[in-house]
């Protein structure tokens, strides 16, 4: 532990010099936290004045500081601070692959550094370079150099269940980390009730970037703060996913269509014909007669092999989505009369063997096997399946040509689930920490947003360090597998790899990387060459599907208008109502129940607490 010693020495030198400066000049030296006047400015010239600590990279600051102590030297830029701390700069600056660091937040880096403890989930996706670990890696070193924040993980867990257990134990032991990740559901409701979380409103108002944070959130109205705002105060930072992250496209086997001379289906009727043709001709790779119409699984609306484009296009709403009915009131799509038509439609598919016979017991993730195993030629899954199910399908059957298309239209037009990028969990700070922590936290978030969401500053949307995340082999960029910078970042920005502020950040980055195609081949830097090299076409397939998804998301998406923690009625009756619904719809689809069972269900649903929930939801809607 050499670092603290150096810091302390620096600090003593800083204070001595600051005191000397204060006696010499009346104007400078007061560590007042005015946003325009960085308080650390007094410490910085002192630090740079220590000859041993200054590498040659900061030639301008030193003479100014030593020669004229009264004049305030310009604070070091982020890049200079990185160099000073001996940290590698990202990319290959000498080969035209440059990153632009945004200006540092006021008062940063803090000296002495502020230690913030946190927690997180460490799955098999979190990989460190040789010699690094969760508390000492390129990000934590960068945070210390640029922000003066020392990140320390109080505890980590392997998965969500374990995380919840550990969180509850930490609450009981009154030993919470300073910040926490993804607090939602019960943890959020109970935590707010017990007053565990700090109010970060002032820090947010003072230090969140207007352009990169506040203006972006403002575009989305109530949604960003649906869970974090309590009585007008912000009790944490929201978690924001990508736009259209879980919107479905219709993936279809182009080679199968060509083989049978069929066109891409535009309506549900045509979809039925194509699916039937695929099945009749038994194009799948499984045993004889096992070809399916579409991939399907036990939950109607889910993230793989989902039925939401079919149900949405028939009913115009979705189960457990609260949408406006004819009277302008919120109503759960579960009891919409047109839902019955959707179930009848699916029952017909099931009867004719177009849905997997075992769908009722097939978990969502297992629907991917149907695609990877080439048992179906159509499925409704987000754009990101290009490299997963569709990619593995191609490995098992090289002739597989998956294409992403718009979902087919039904009686209600083209309607599918709109995936809300604003998650139902927040990133809180522990109550009683003090303003310095909230300020530092918000400043770091705000800076990271500006850096990581601006395609002009971060080429390709990816932070790459030579020797850590990539190597140069024979002049070509070669990624080091599984090592990703964002995985090391605590907090809501980047976080486990894809948190941020603007839901459209990935879209912007993608447009930028696509524009690199216009750079002449001999002018491209190694990273651009690597990104644009796509022999298997996986990336092009992914990008086309993503662009399609983003372009139709607003127009075709069905939005769930209820975005708040569960109401009392949902807590009391929700589980029972949902299991009743699950039984009804699987019963109808598998043909074990007549379609009239749906009408009966609607009556029961209202009686068994549904009416109360509806009232609560509408009360919430009015009171917003």
């Amino acid at each position: 532990m050499k670092e603290p010693r150096i810091t302390r020495r620096d600090f003593i030198r800083a204070s001595v010099l600051a005191a000397a400066g204060a006696t010499l000049t009346a104007c400078a030296g007061q560590p007042t936290p005015a946003p325009t006047q960085p308080p650390a400015a007094t410490a910085k010239p002192a630090a740079t004045a220590v000859p041993t600590a200054v590498p040659t990279a900061v030639p301008t600051a030193r003479p100014t500081a030593t020669a004229v102590p009264t004049a305030k030297p310009a604070p070091l830029t982020a890049e200079q601070l990185m160099v000073k701390a001996g940290l590698p700069l990202p990319g290959l600056p000498d080969q035209g692959w440059k990153y632009t660091f945004p200006d540092l937040p006021p008062g940063m880096p803090m000296d002495p550094p502020l230690r913030i403890t946190t927690n997180r989930i460490v799955g098999s996706d979190v990989v460190f370079a040789q010699g690094d670990d969760i508390d000492n890696n390129p990000f934590t070193r960068m945070a210390k150099a640029l922000f003066g924040i020392e990140w320390k993980h109080k505890w980590t867990a392997g998965n969500w269940d374990d995380y919840t257990t550990k969180w509850n134990l930490a609450v009981a032991a009154k030993d919470l980390p300073d910040t926490a990740i993804y607090i939602g559901g019960d943890l959020l409701v109970n935590g707010l009730k017990a007053g565990l979380f700090a109010d970060i409103t002032d820090a947010y108002e003072n230090y969140a970037s207007k352009k990169w944070v506040k203006d972006v959130f403002a575009r989305y109205g109530d949604l960003p703060w649906a869970y974090a705002r309590v009585k007008g105060r912000l009790m944490g930072w929201p978690y924001v996913e990508q736009a259209a992250q879980n919107d479905k496209v219709m993936w279809i086997r182009k080679d199968w269509l060509d083989k049978l001379g069929l066109a891409v289906p535009k309506t549900l009727g045509e979809l039925y014909e194509v699916a039937t043709a695929f099945r009749k001709n038994d194009l799948g790779k499984g045993a004889k007669g096992t070809t399916l119409g579409i991939a399907f699984q036990q939950e109607l609306v889910s993230w793989y092999g989902s039925a939401d484009p079919i149900i949405g296009s028939i009913a115009g709403t979705l189960p457990n989505f609260w949408t406006k009915n004819d009277k302008g009131q919120l109503e759960n799509g579960i009891i919409n009369p047109r839902m019955k038509d959707a179930l009848i439609f699916l029952a017909k598919w099931y009867k004719e063997g177009l849905l997997p016979a075992d769908f009722a017991t097939r978990p969502t993730g297992e629907a991917q096997k149907l695609v990877a195993g080439n048992l179906c030629g159509i499925h409704f899954t987000p754009h990101w399946d290009a490299g997963w199910g569709c990619g593995e399908s191609k490995q098992n059957d090289p002739s597989a040509e998956w294409e992403a298309h718009e979902i087919p239209a039904g009686p209600a037009g083209k309607k599918k689930m709109w995936s809300n990028p604003f998650g139902a969990s927040i990133f809180p700070l522990r109550a009683g920490l003090g303003q310095a922590y909230a300020d530092a936290y918000v400043k770091q978030c705000s800076w990271l947003v500006e850096f990581f969401e601006d395609p002009e500053k971060l080429p390709g949307g990816s932070y790459q360090i030579k020797g850590v995340t990539f190597d140069i082999v024979d002049g070509a960029f070669k990624p080091i597998p599984n090592v990703h910078f964002p995985k090391w970042v605590p907090g809501p920005i980047l976080g486990s790899g894809n948190g941020g502020v603007d839901p459209e950040r990935a879209y912007r980055h993608m447009l930028k990387t696509r524009s690199w195609k216009e750079v002449p081949e001999d002018k491209r830097n190694p990273y651009q060459k690597f990104v644009l090299n796509d022999p298997a076409g996986n990336q092009e397939r992914y990008q086309k599907a993503f662009l399609l998804n983003v372009s139709v998301s607003e127009q075709q998406g069905i939005k769930n208008l209820f975005n708040a923690p569960p109401t009392q009625g949902m807590v009391d009756f929700g589980a029972e109502l949902n299991s009743m619904w699950a039984q009804t719809w699987t019963g109808i689809v598998t043909g074990q129940k007549p379609a009239s069972a749906f009408d009966e269900f609607v009556v029961n649903w209202k009686k068994m607490g549904g009416d109360q929930i509806t009232k609560e939801v509408n009360d919430w809607w009015q009171s917003r």
Binding site: I134, W155, G158, A172, K285, Q368, S393, S496, N498
Partner: protein, 293 residues
């Protein structure tokens, strides 16, 4: 009485053998399937084509497992805790069971202490108080947190106590006449006569330690310190996209069924290897009892 077996008897035996073989095979099926998947290449495993024979045979998955530092570290923690934990468990079981097997006449207060143990067996402190206690003792993040809270296995103590009491008094008395102390009695008379039950208790303790995951979750703050079964939960647990959005790029990584299968198989291996050796003692134990009977 071999000739006395009627055809009905033989028929009955035959049917029994067939049924029991089938049941034994049913137990083996999942293991064979996991083994087959672990030796298959990625794409067929993902497609669900592999049943009992690997497709696209490869050692690659095992190489990945062995190369994974995190897995290796967790494996080591598990081995350490199993060895140390079993040793401590058995030591305490033997040293507690012996005095308890004495008569109340010899061991004053035995009955009261027995009730104390019985109480502790039936009621425990509950999750949070136990956690707080372990935490206040400063055991968090040490191997001792996995070993000490479960060190006294009361049920096993009672089992061994009852076994000790079943050993004929005459043997003990003969040793006492020869001038044996309690330590000598325990070491020369009781322990050699109880190898079968000790082997069983040893297996219980070892399997218990090897399979335990929950203490790893609550007492370890770093993934570096967790035992294998806790570590496995990071990879075996089902993909759940409803609770958090994974980066699509990670799906490929997280969902690698063949590597997961290899990890699971490596985890099963030590117990599979240890079991036949301990089973030898079970058989001896049965024979021992039969001769004496």
């Amino acid at each position: 009485m071999v000739e006395g077996k009627s055809w009905r008897n033989r028929m009955f035996d035959g049917v029994n053998y067939v049924i029991l073989t089938l049941i034994a095979f049913l137990c083996l099926v999942p293991i064979i399937h996991v083994l087959a998947v672990s030796l298959s290449s990625r794409a067929p495993a993902m497609g669900g084509f592999v049943t009992f024979w690997p497709i696209g045979f490869t050692w690659e998955n095992y190489i990945k497992v062995v190369e994974s530092v995190a897995f290796y570290r967790a494996f080591l923690v598990s081995v350490e805790r199993t060895l140390l934990g079993t040793l401590i468990n058995l030591l305490i079981i033997v040293l507690t069971a012996y005095p308890f097997s004495r008569s109340p006449h010899e061991f004053k207060g035995r009955t009261f202490l027995l009730y104390v143990f019985m109480f502790a067996m039936l009621f425990n402190g509950g999750l949070i108080p136990t956690f707080l206690n372990v935490r206040n003792l400063g055991l968090i993040d040490t191997l001792w947190a996995l070993v000490l809270p479960g060190a006294v296995q009361i049920w096993s103590i009672f089992l061994l106590m009852n076994f000790f009491r079943g050993i004929p008094k005459e043997i003990e008395e003969s040793a006492i006449i020869d001038g044996a102390s309690h330590w000598q009695l325990l070491y020369h008379i009781y322990l050699p006569l109880s190898t079968p039950v000790l082997a069983t208790l040893c297996l219980f303790a070892a399997v218990g330690h090897w399979n335990a995951w929950f203490d790893g979750v609550i007492y370890m703050t770093k993934m570096d310190n967790v035992p294998l079964q806790t570590f496995l939960r990071t990879i075996v647990i089902q993909l759940d996209m409803t609770r958090m959005n994974l980066d699509p790029k990670d799906l490929v990584l997280v969902s690698n069924r063949s590597v997961r299968a290899a990890q699971i198989f490596v985890t099963m291996l030590p117990i599979l290897v240890v079991y036949p050796f301990l089973q030898r003692y079970f058989v001896t134990g049965i024979r021992l009892g039969a001769v004496k009977g």
